[in-house]
């Protein structure tokens, strides 16, 4: 039969199932196919902290959302157009996010009374009218998969486990995804287990053919490749981009990279990744605890390596004392905090940006630390290079604040030319004619010399006790302490001189029609804010957007920018941490929009916020 092909400009698909159903893998593969096809895309994995929560329960549901389009997009999307639900719990946990008219593909196999009860359904939603607003495709994915792979002699359990590939094949057909990369992937992944390899490939192809032949699926869709800036692209997650950024920083500075780290969600992938790249001179040390991870990194920095530690909020709490020591020692050190829901253990697998004030102030004494935040998954690469530039140039620990959404989310990345990446100059100290002064300073940056052991004539002692200016000897002198506290602050403040003015996206400003509302964000809210601003502009609202990469120090012109606008809206996935800093520093009464649901903002939600602020603006005077 001839099937209809419909053109769409964008689609949001969410794959949802039990944590053992392989939904993350399914989403990853669909993403890779989509990237290969040339759509712009953005992804949002969402999974429970439990490795294998009790099967069939709501808290065991794991999902992966992918948004892809024929144009440039900024977020993984608010409301899925298509939900693939592998069991009743996955359906129940996600159905509330669907708009009427959405497509639901559901594995009808597991809708037994027992499973329905476990998911909290009193009645079978496939049999009552609760799904009437949606285009529901009930497919017994499990039975079809088991039947398709029976020739490989697998156990029933192993056969059924290939159902995620069946689902992937079906959805790949619906959206005309290229399949080669998934087949190759399965060949490599199961190279040593041929029967699993063949079963998975067969399930995948059967799913595709099922879509093509069954009458239930009458329509397939075409989403043309996006028009993107010329160049070579790949898909990349934030944690991978961050790991690559660290390796690149090592290469561009000529420093060997030493990572001291303790496993923690959602940062562990960076440790895993860096441990694979020893041939770049990267050494990874899985420490006995968070404190040891940063201690070893600082020791490596003292020895002239690029010391790095990766963690999440609870780990930063444990590292705080060592960060303070690094402030005192004035040595380069990179601390990457992949933020998650807090406080305490909080929501390990959910995203939040509530460690800003911890990064800013979470140490005893006056212990200023530069703070950098990437704004998208691929931006983690550039942010890492920038953080290392500051750490090495200014001889200071630097905090990089990513988060779970950036770390696990992915997007296409236009590959940089390696030769065009910034150079980072360690400029190690060498012995001169004068006696060595470990706390003498560069007049421009206020950085002290990085004098590594093994350099004759530079033998010196440093530590956490207050130092005398220039000599670095222990000093309890009141005036000296005051001077040193102010000097360490001034050094961090000087970083602002090395960063450009804040980029403000205010399309009207060129024609003297500056917007009256500025939406200011930092970190991973860039995508949702950008998408919301576009929507608001489509609705005729004049609104500007600016996004902070440098949180400490702020760009020099930030105060001036803020004062140009009647309203400054600051959406944050916390209770107003940037807003607090902005108010304190600039006395600008920003309008906060704050949510801590463990999920990124939706574009529509933020567009409503902008609309609300615009509606309440008093008429322009004069």
């Amino acid at each position: 039969m001839t099937k209809q092909v419909k053109q769409l400009d964008r689609v949001i698909i969410r794959f949802a199932g039990d944590s053992g159903d392989g939904m993350q893998l399914t989403g990853d593969r669909f993403t890779a196919e989509t990237a290969a096809f040339g759509n712009d895309l953005s992804t949002l994995p969402d999974f429970p902290a439990e490795i294998r929560a009790p099967a069939g329960t709501l808290h065991g549901v794991s999902s992966f959302q992918v948004h892809f389009a024929d144009h440039d997009i900024l977020t993984p999307g608010d409301k899925p157009d298509v939900l693939v639900a592998m069991n009743p719990a996955a359906l129940r946990a996600n159905v509330a996010d669907l708009e009427p008219g959405a497509t639901v593909i559901v594995d009808s196999h597991d809708f037994s009374t027992r499973n329905l009860t476990r998911a909290g359904y009193a009645d079978n939603p496939l049999e009552d009218d609760s799904l009437d607003n949606f285009a529901v495709h009930q497919v017994d994915l499990t039975a079809l998969t088991v039947e398709a792979v029976k020739e490989f002699g697998l156990s029933r359990k192993d056969s059924a486990r290939a159902k995620n590939m069946f689902a992937l094949g079906l959805v790949s057909w619906m959206y005309g995804r290229p399949t080669e990369s998934t087949v190759e992937f399965l060949q490599t992944r199961f190279a040593s287990k041929t029967e699993l390899r063949d079963a998975n490939i067969t399930a995948f192809r059967t799913g595709w053919n099922f879509g093509e032949t069954t009458e239930a699926f009458a329509v397939s869709y075409e989403i043309k490749p996006a028009v993107m800036r010329p160049g070579r692209y790949r898909n990349i997650t934030g944690n991978l981009a961050l790991a690559y950024g660290i390796i690149a920083a090592g290469q561009r500075s000529g420093l060997s990279v030493f990572l001291g780290s303790y496993p923690i969600t959602p940062a562990s992938d960076i440790l895993h990744e860096l441990s694979k790249h020893k041939r770049f001179g990267v050494t990874t040390f899985q420490a006995e605890d968070e404190i040891s991870g940063i201690g070893a990194a600082l020791g490596a920095s003292f020895g002239g390596a690029l010391g790095v530690t990766t963690t999440s909020g609870p780990g930063v709490a444990l590292k705080s004392e060592t960060i303070g020591l690094a402030v005192m020692l004035e040595l380069p050190l990179l601390i990457c905090d992949i933020q998650r829901g807090g406080p305490s253990t909080g929501l390990p697998t959910k995203t939040e940006q509530s460690d800003l004030l911890q990064a800013m102030f979470g140490r005893n004494g006056e212990a200023p630390v530069p703070i950098i935040a990437p704004r998208s998954p691929s931006d983690c690469f550039d942010a890492a290079l920038e953080a290392v530039r500051i750490a090495v140039t200014y001889r200071t620990p630097v905090m990089l604040l990513s988060d779970g959404y950036l770390g696990n989310g992915s997007e296409p990345w236009r590959l940089p030319e390696v030769t065009e990446l910034p150079d980072i100059e360690p400029a190690f100290a060498t012995a001169g004619a004068e006696p060595f002064l470990p706390y003498a300073r560069d007049p421009e940056t206020l950085a002290r010399p990085w004098a590594v052991p093994g350099t004759a004539g530079l033998e010196h002692r440093i530590g956490g006790l207050e130092k005398a200016d220039r000599t670095g000897d222990i000093s309890y002198d009141p005036a000296n302490h005051d001077l040193m506290v102010r000097t360490r602050q001034a050094k961090v403040d000087r970083v602002a001189a090395s960063i450009g003015p804040l980029e403000v996206d205010d399309p009207g400003s060129e024609h003297g029609q500056r917007a009256r509302i500025l939406v200011l964000g930092w970190g991973s809210t860039y995508g949702p804010i950008g998408a919301a601003v576009r929507r608001a502009r489509r609705d005729g609202i004049s609104v500007a957007q600016a996004h902070l990469r440098h949180l400490n120090p702020f760009p020099s012109d930030l105060g001036e920018v803020l004062r140009r606008y009647d309203r400054v809206v600051v959406p944050e996935m916390n209770l107003g941490q940037l807003a607090l800093l902005i108010r304190a520093k600039y006395l600008v009464d920003v309008v906060g929009y704050n949510k801590v649901r463990g999920l990124p903002f939706g574009a529509a939600e933020l567009a409503d916020v902008i609309q609300g602020v615009a509606a309440e603006l008093p008429a322009r005077e004069g």
Binding site: G231, A248, K278, G281, D289, G299, A300, G303, G307, E321
Partner: protein, 358 residues
Amino acid sequence: MTSIDLPTPDLRSDGLAGVPSTETPQTRKDFASDQEVRWCPGCGDYAVLAAVQGFLPELGLRRENIVFISGIGCAARFPYYLDTFGLHSIHGRAPTIATGLAVTRPDLSVWVVTGDGDALSIGGNHLIHALRRNVNMTILLFNNRIYGLTKGQYSPTSETGKVTKSTPMGSVDTPFNPISLALGAEATFVARTIDSDRVHLTSVLREAAAHRGSSLVEIYQNCPIFNDGAFDALKGGGREAAIIPLVHGEPITFGSEGEHGLRRDARTGAIDVVEVAELGAESLLVHDAHTDDPSLAFALSRLTDAGRINRAPVGIFRQVERPTYDDLARQQVTTARQTSGEGDLGALLSGRDTWTVA
């Protein structure tokens, strides 16, 4: 999960291999910094400092390739007084900093100076992990069985019942035996010496520096202010009956005439003190610090008094070879480069799946 047999590293047994030496003769003065030493008069730390400054020239290493790292406490001021590279860090964390430095800089001789509170209380976790990893460093644990810098609280090595400012009715804590702890943590070199016995202290430092891997040297050190006389039984008259000297390959005897000896119970493995005259020299325990099985060293460590010290074995309990963490970690980097070549950043960033937009 799988595990693999690691390739045998280019096993080096010299703790100082790779550290550049100097032809210029050095003296004790070369290692004295310009800083005024500020320990209390009569502190055992002076004796240890003098012994270390006197010993370092013997190694003939370039001064700039020696690094002393400390935590917090009285002993932790040690690096300031040595004209080498030094890092006075934070409480209990010196082994972590030393680990990062030792892994990345095989050309350095790395020393950790710590105390009983620093190493065994706040930093206990780091100490045991440094020892089990066998990172090439020498850890000098100054044990005065008291908190000095905070003015006299009991420490994790203080005897039960100790009356201090924080334990007016006597401490109810059971103390650590640092030697037993180190042995339990898989340490490859474990020794004990005494601040006042410079010859013995120096001989232990010599062996510890030469050992490749983590060397733990417990130094009994007197605090004249808060715990004066804690080791008096091991000093002055009568010390021959209190110190059980451990010398590899020699039968263990002590007492002014060597009249006491040790015998190992074949059934329980425990060690008893016996009279040499009664049992005969041939049945005495012969010290073997090199045996792979740590149970003998552990049994010896248990002869240390847990309460007031009236008797303690002194010397090298254990000295065995095992690949070091830092050698193995560096070898993995070397192997990765040899088998796959130096990393190509462009190829790494591209990965396997790219597409081109014209």
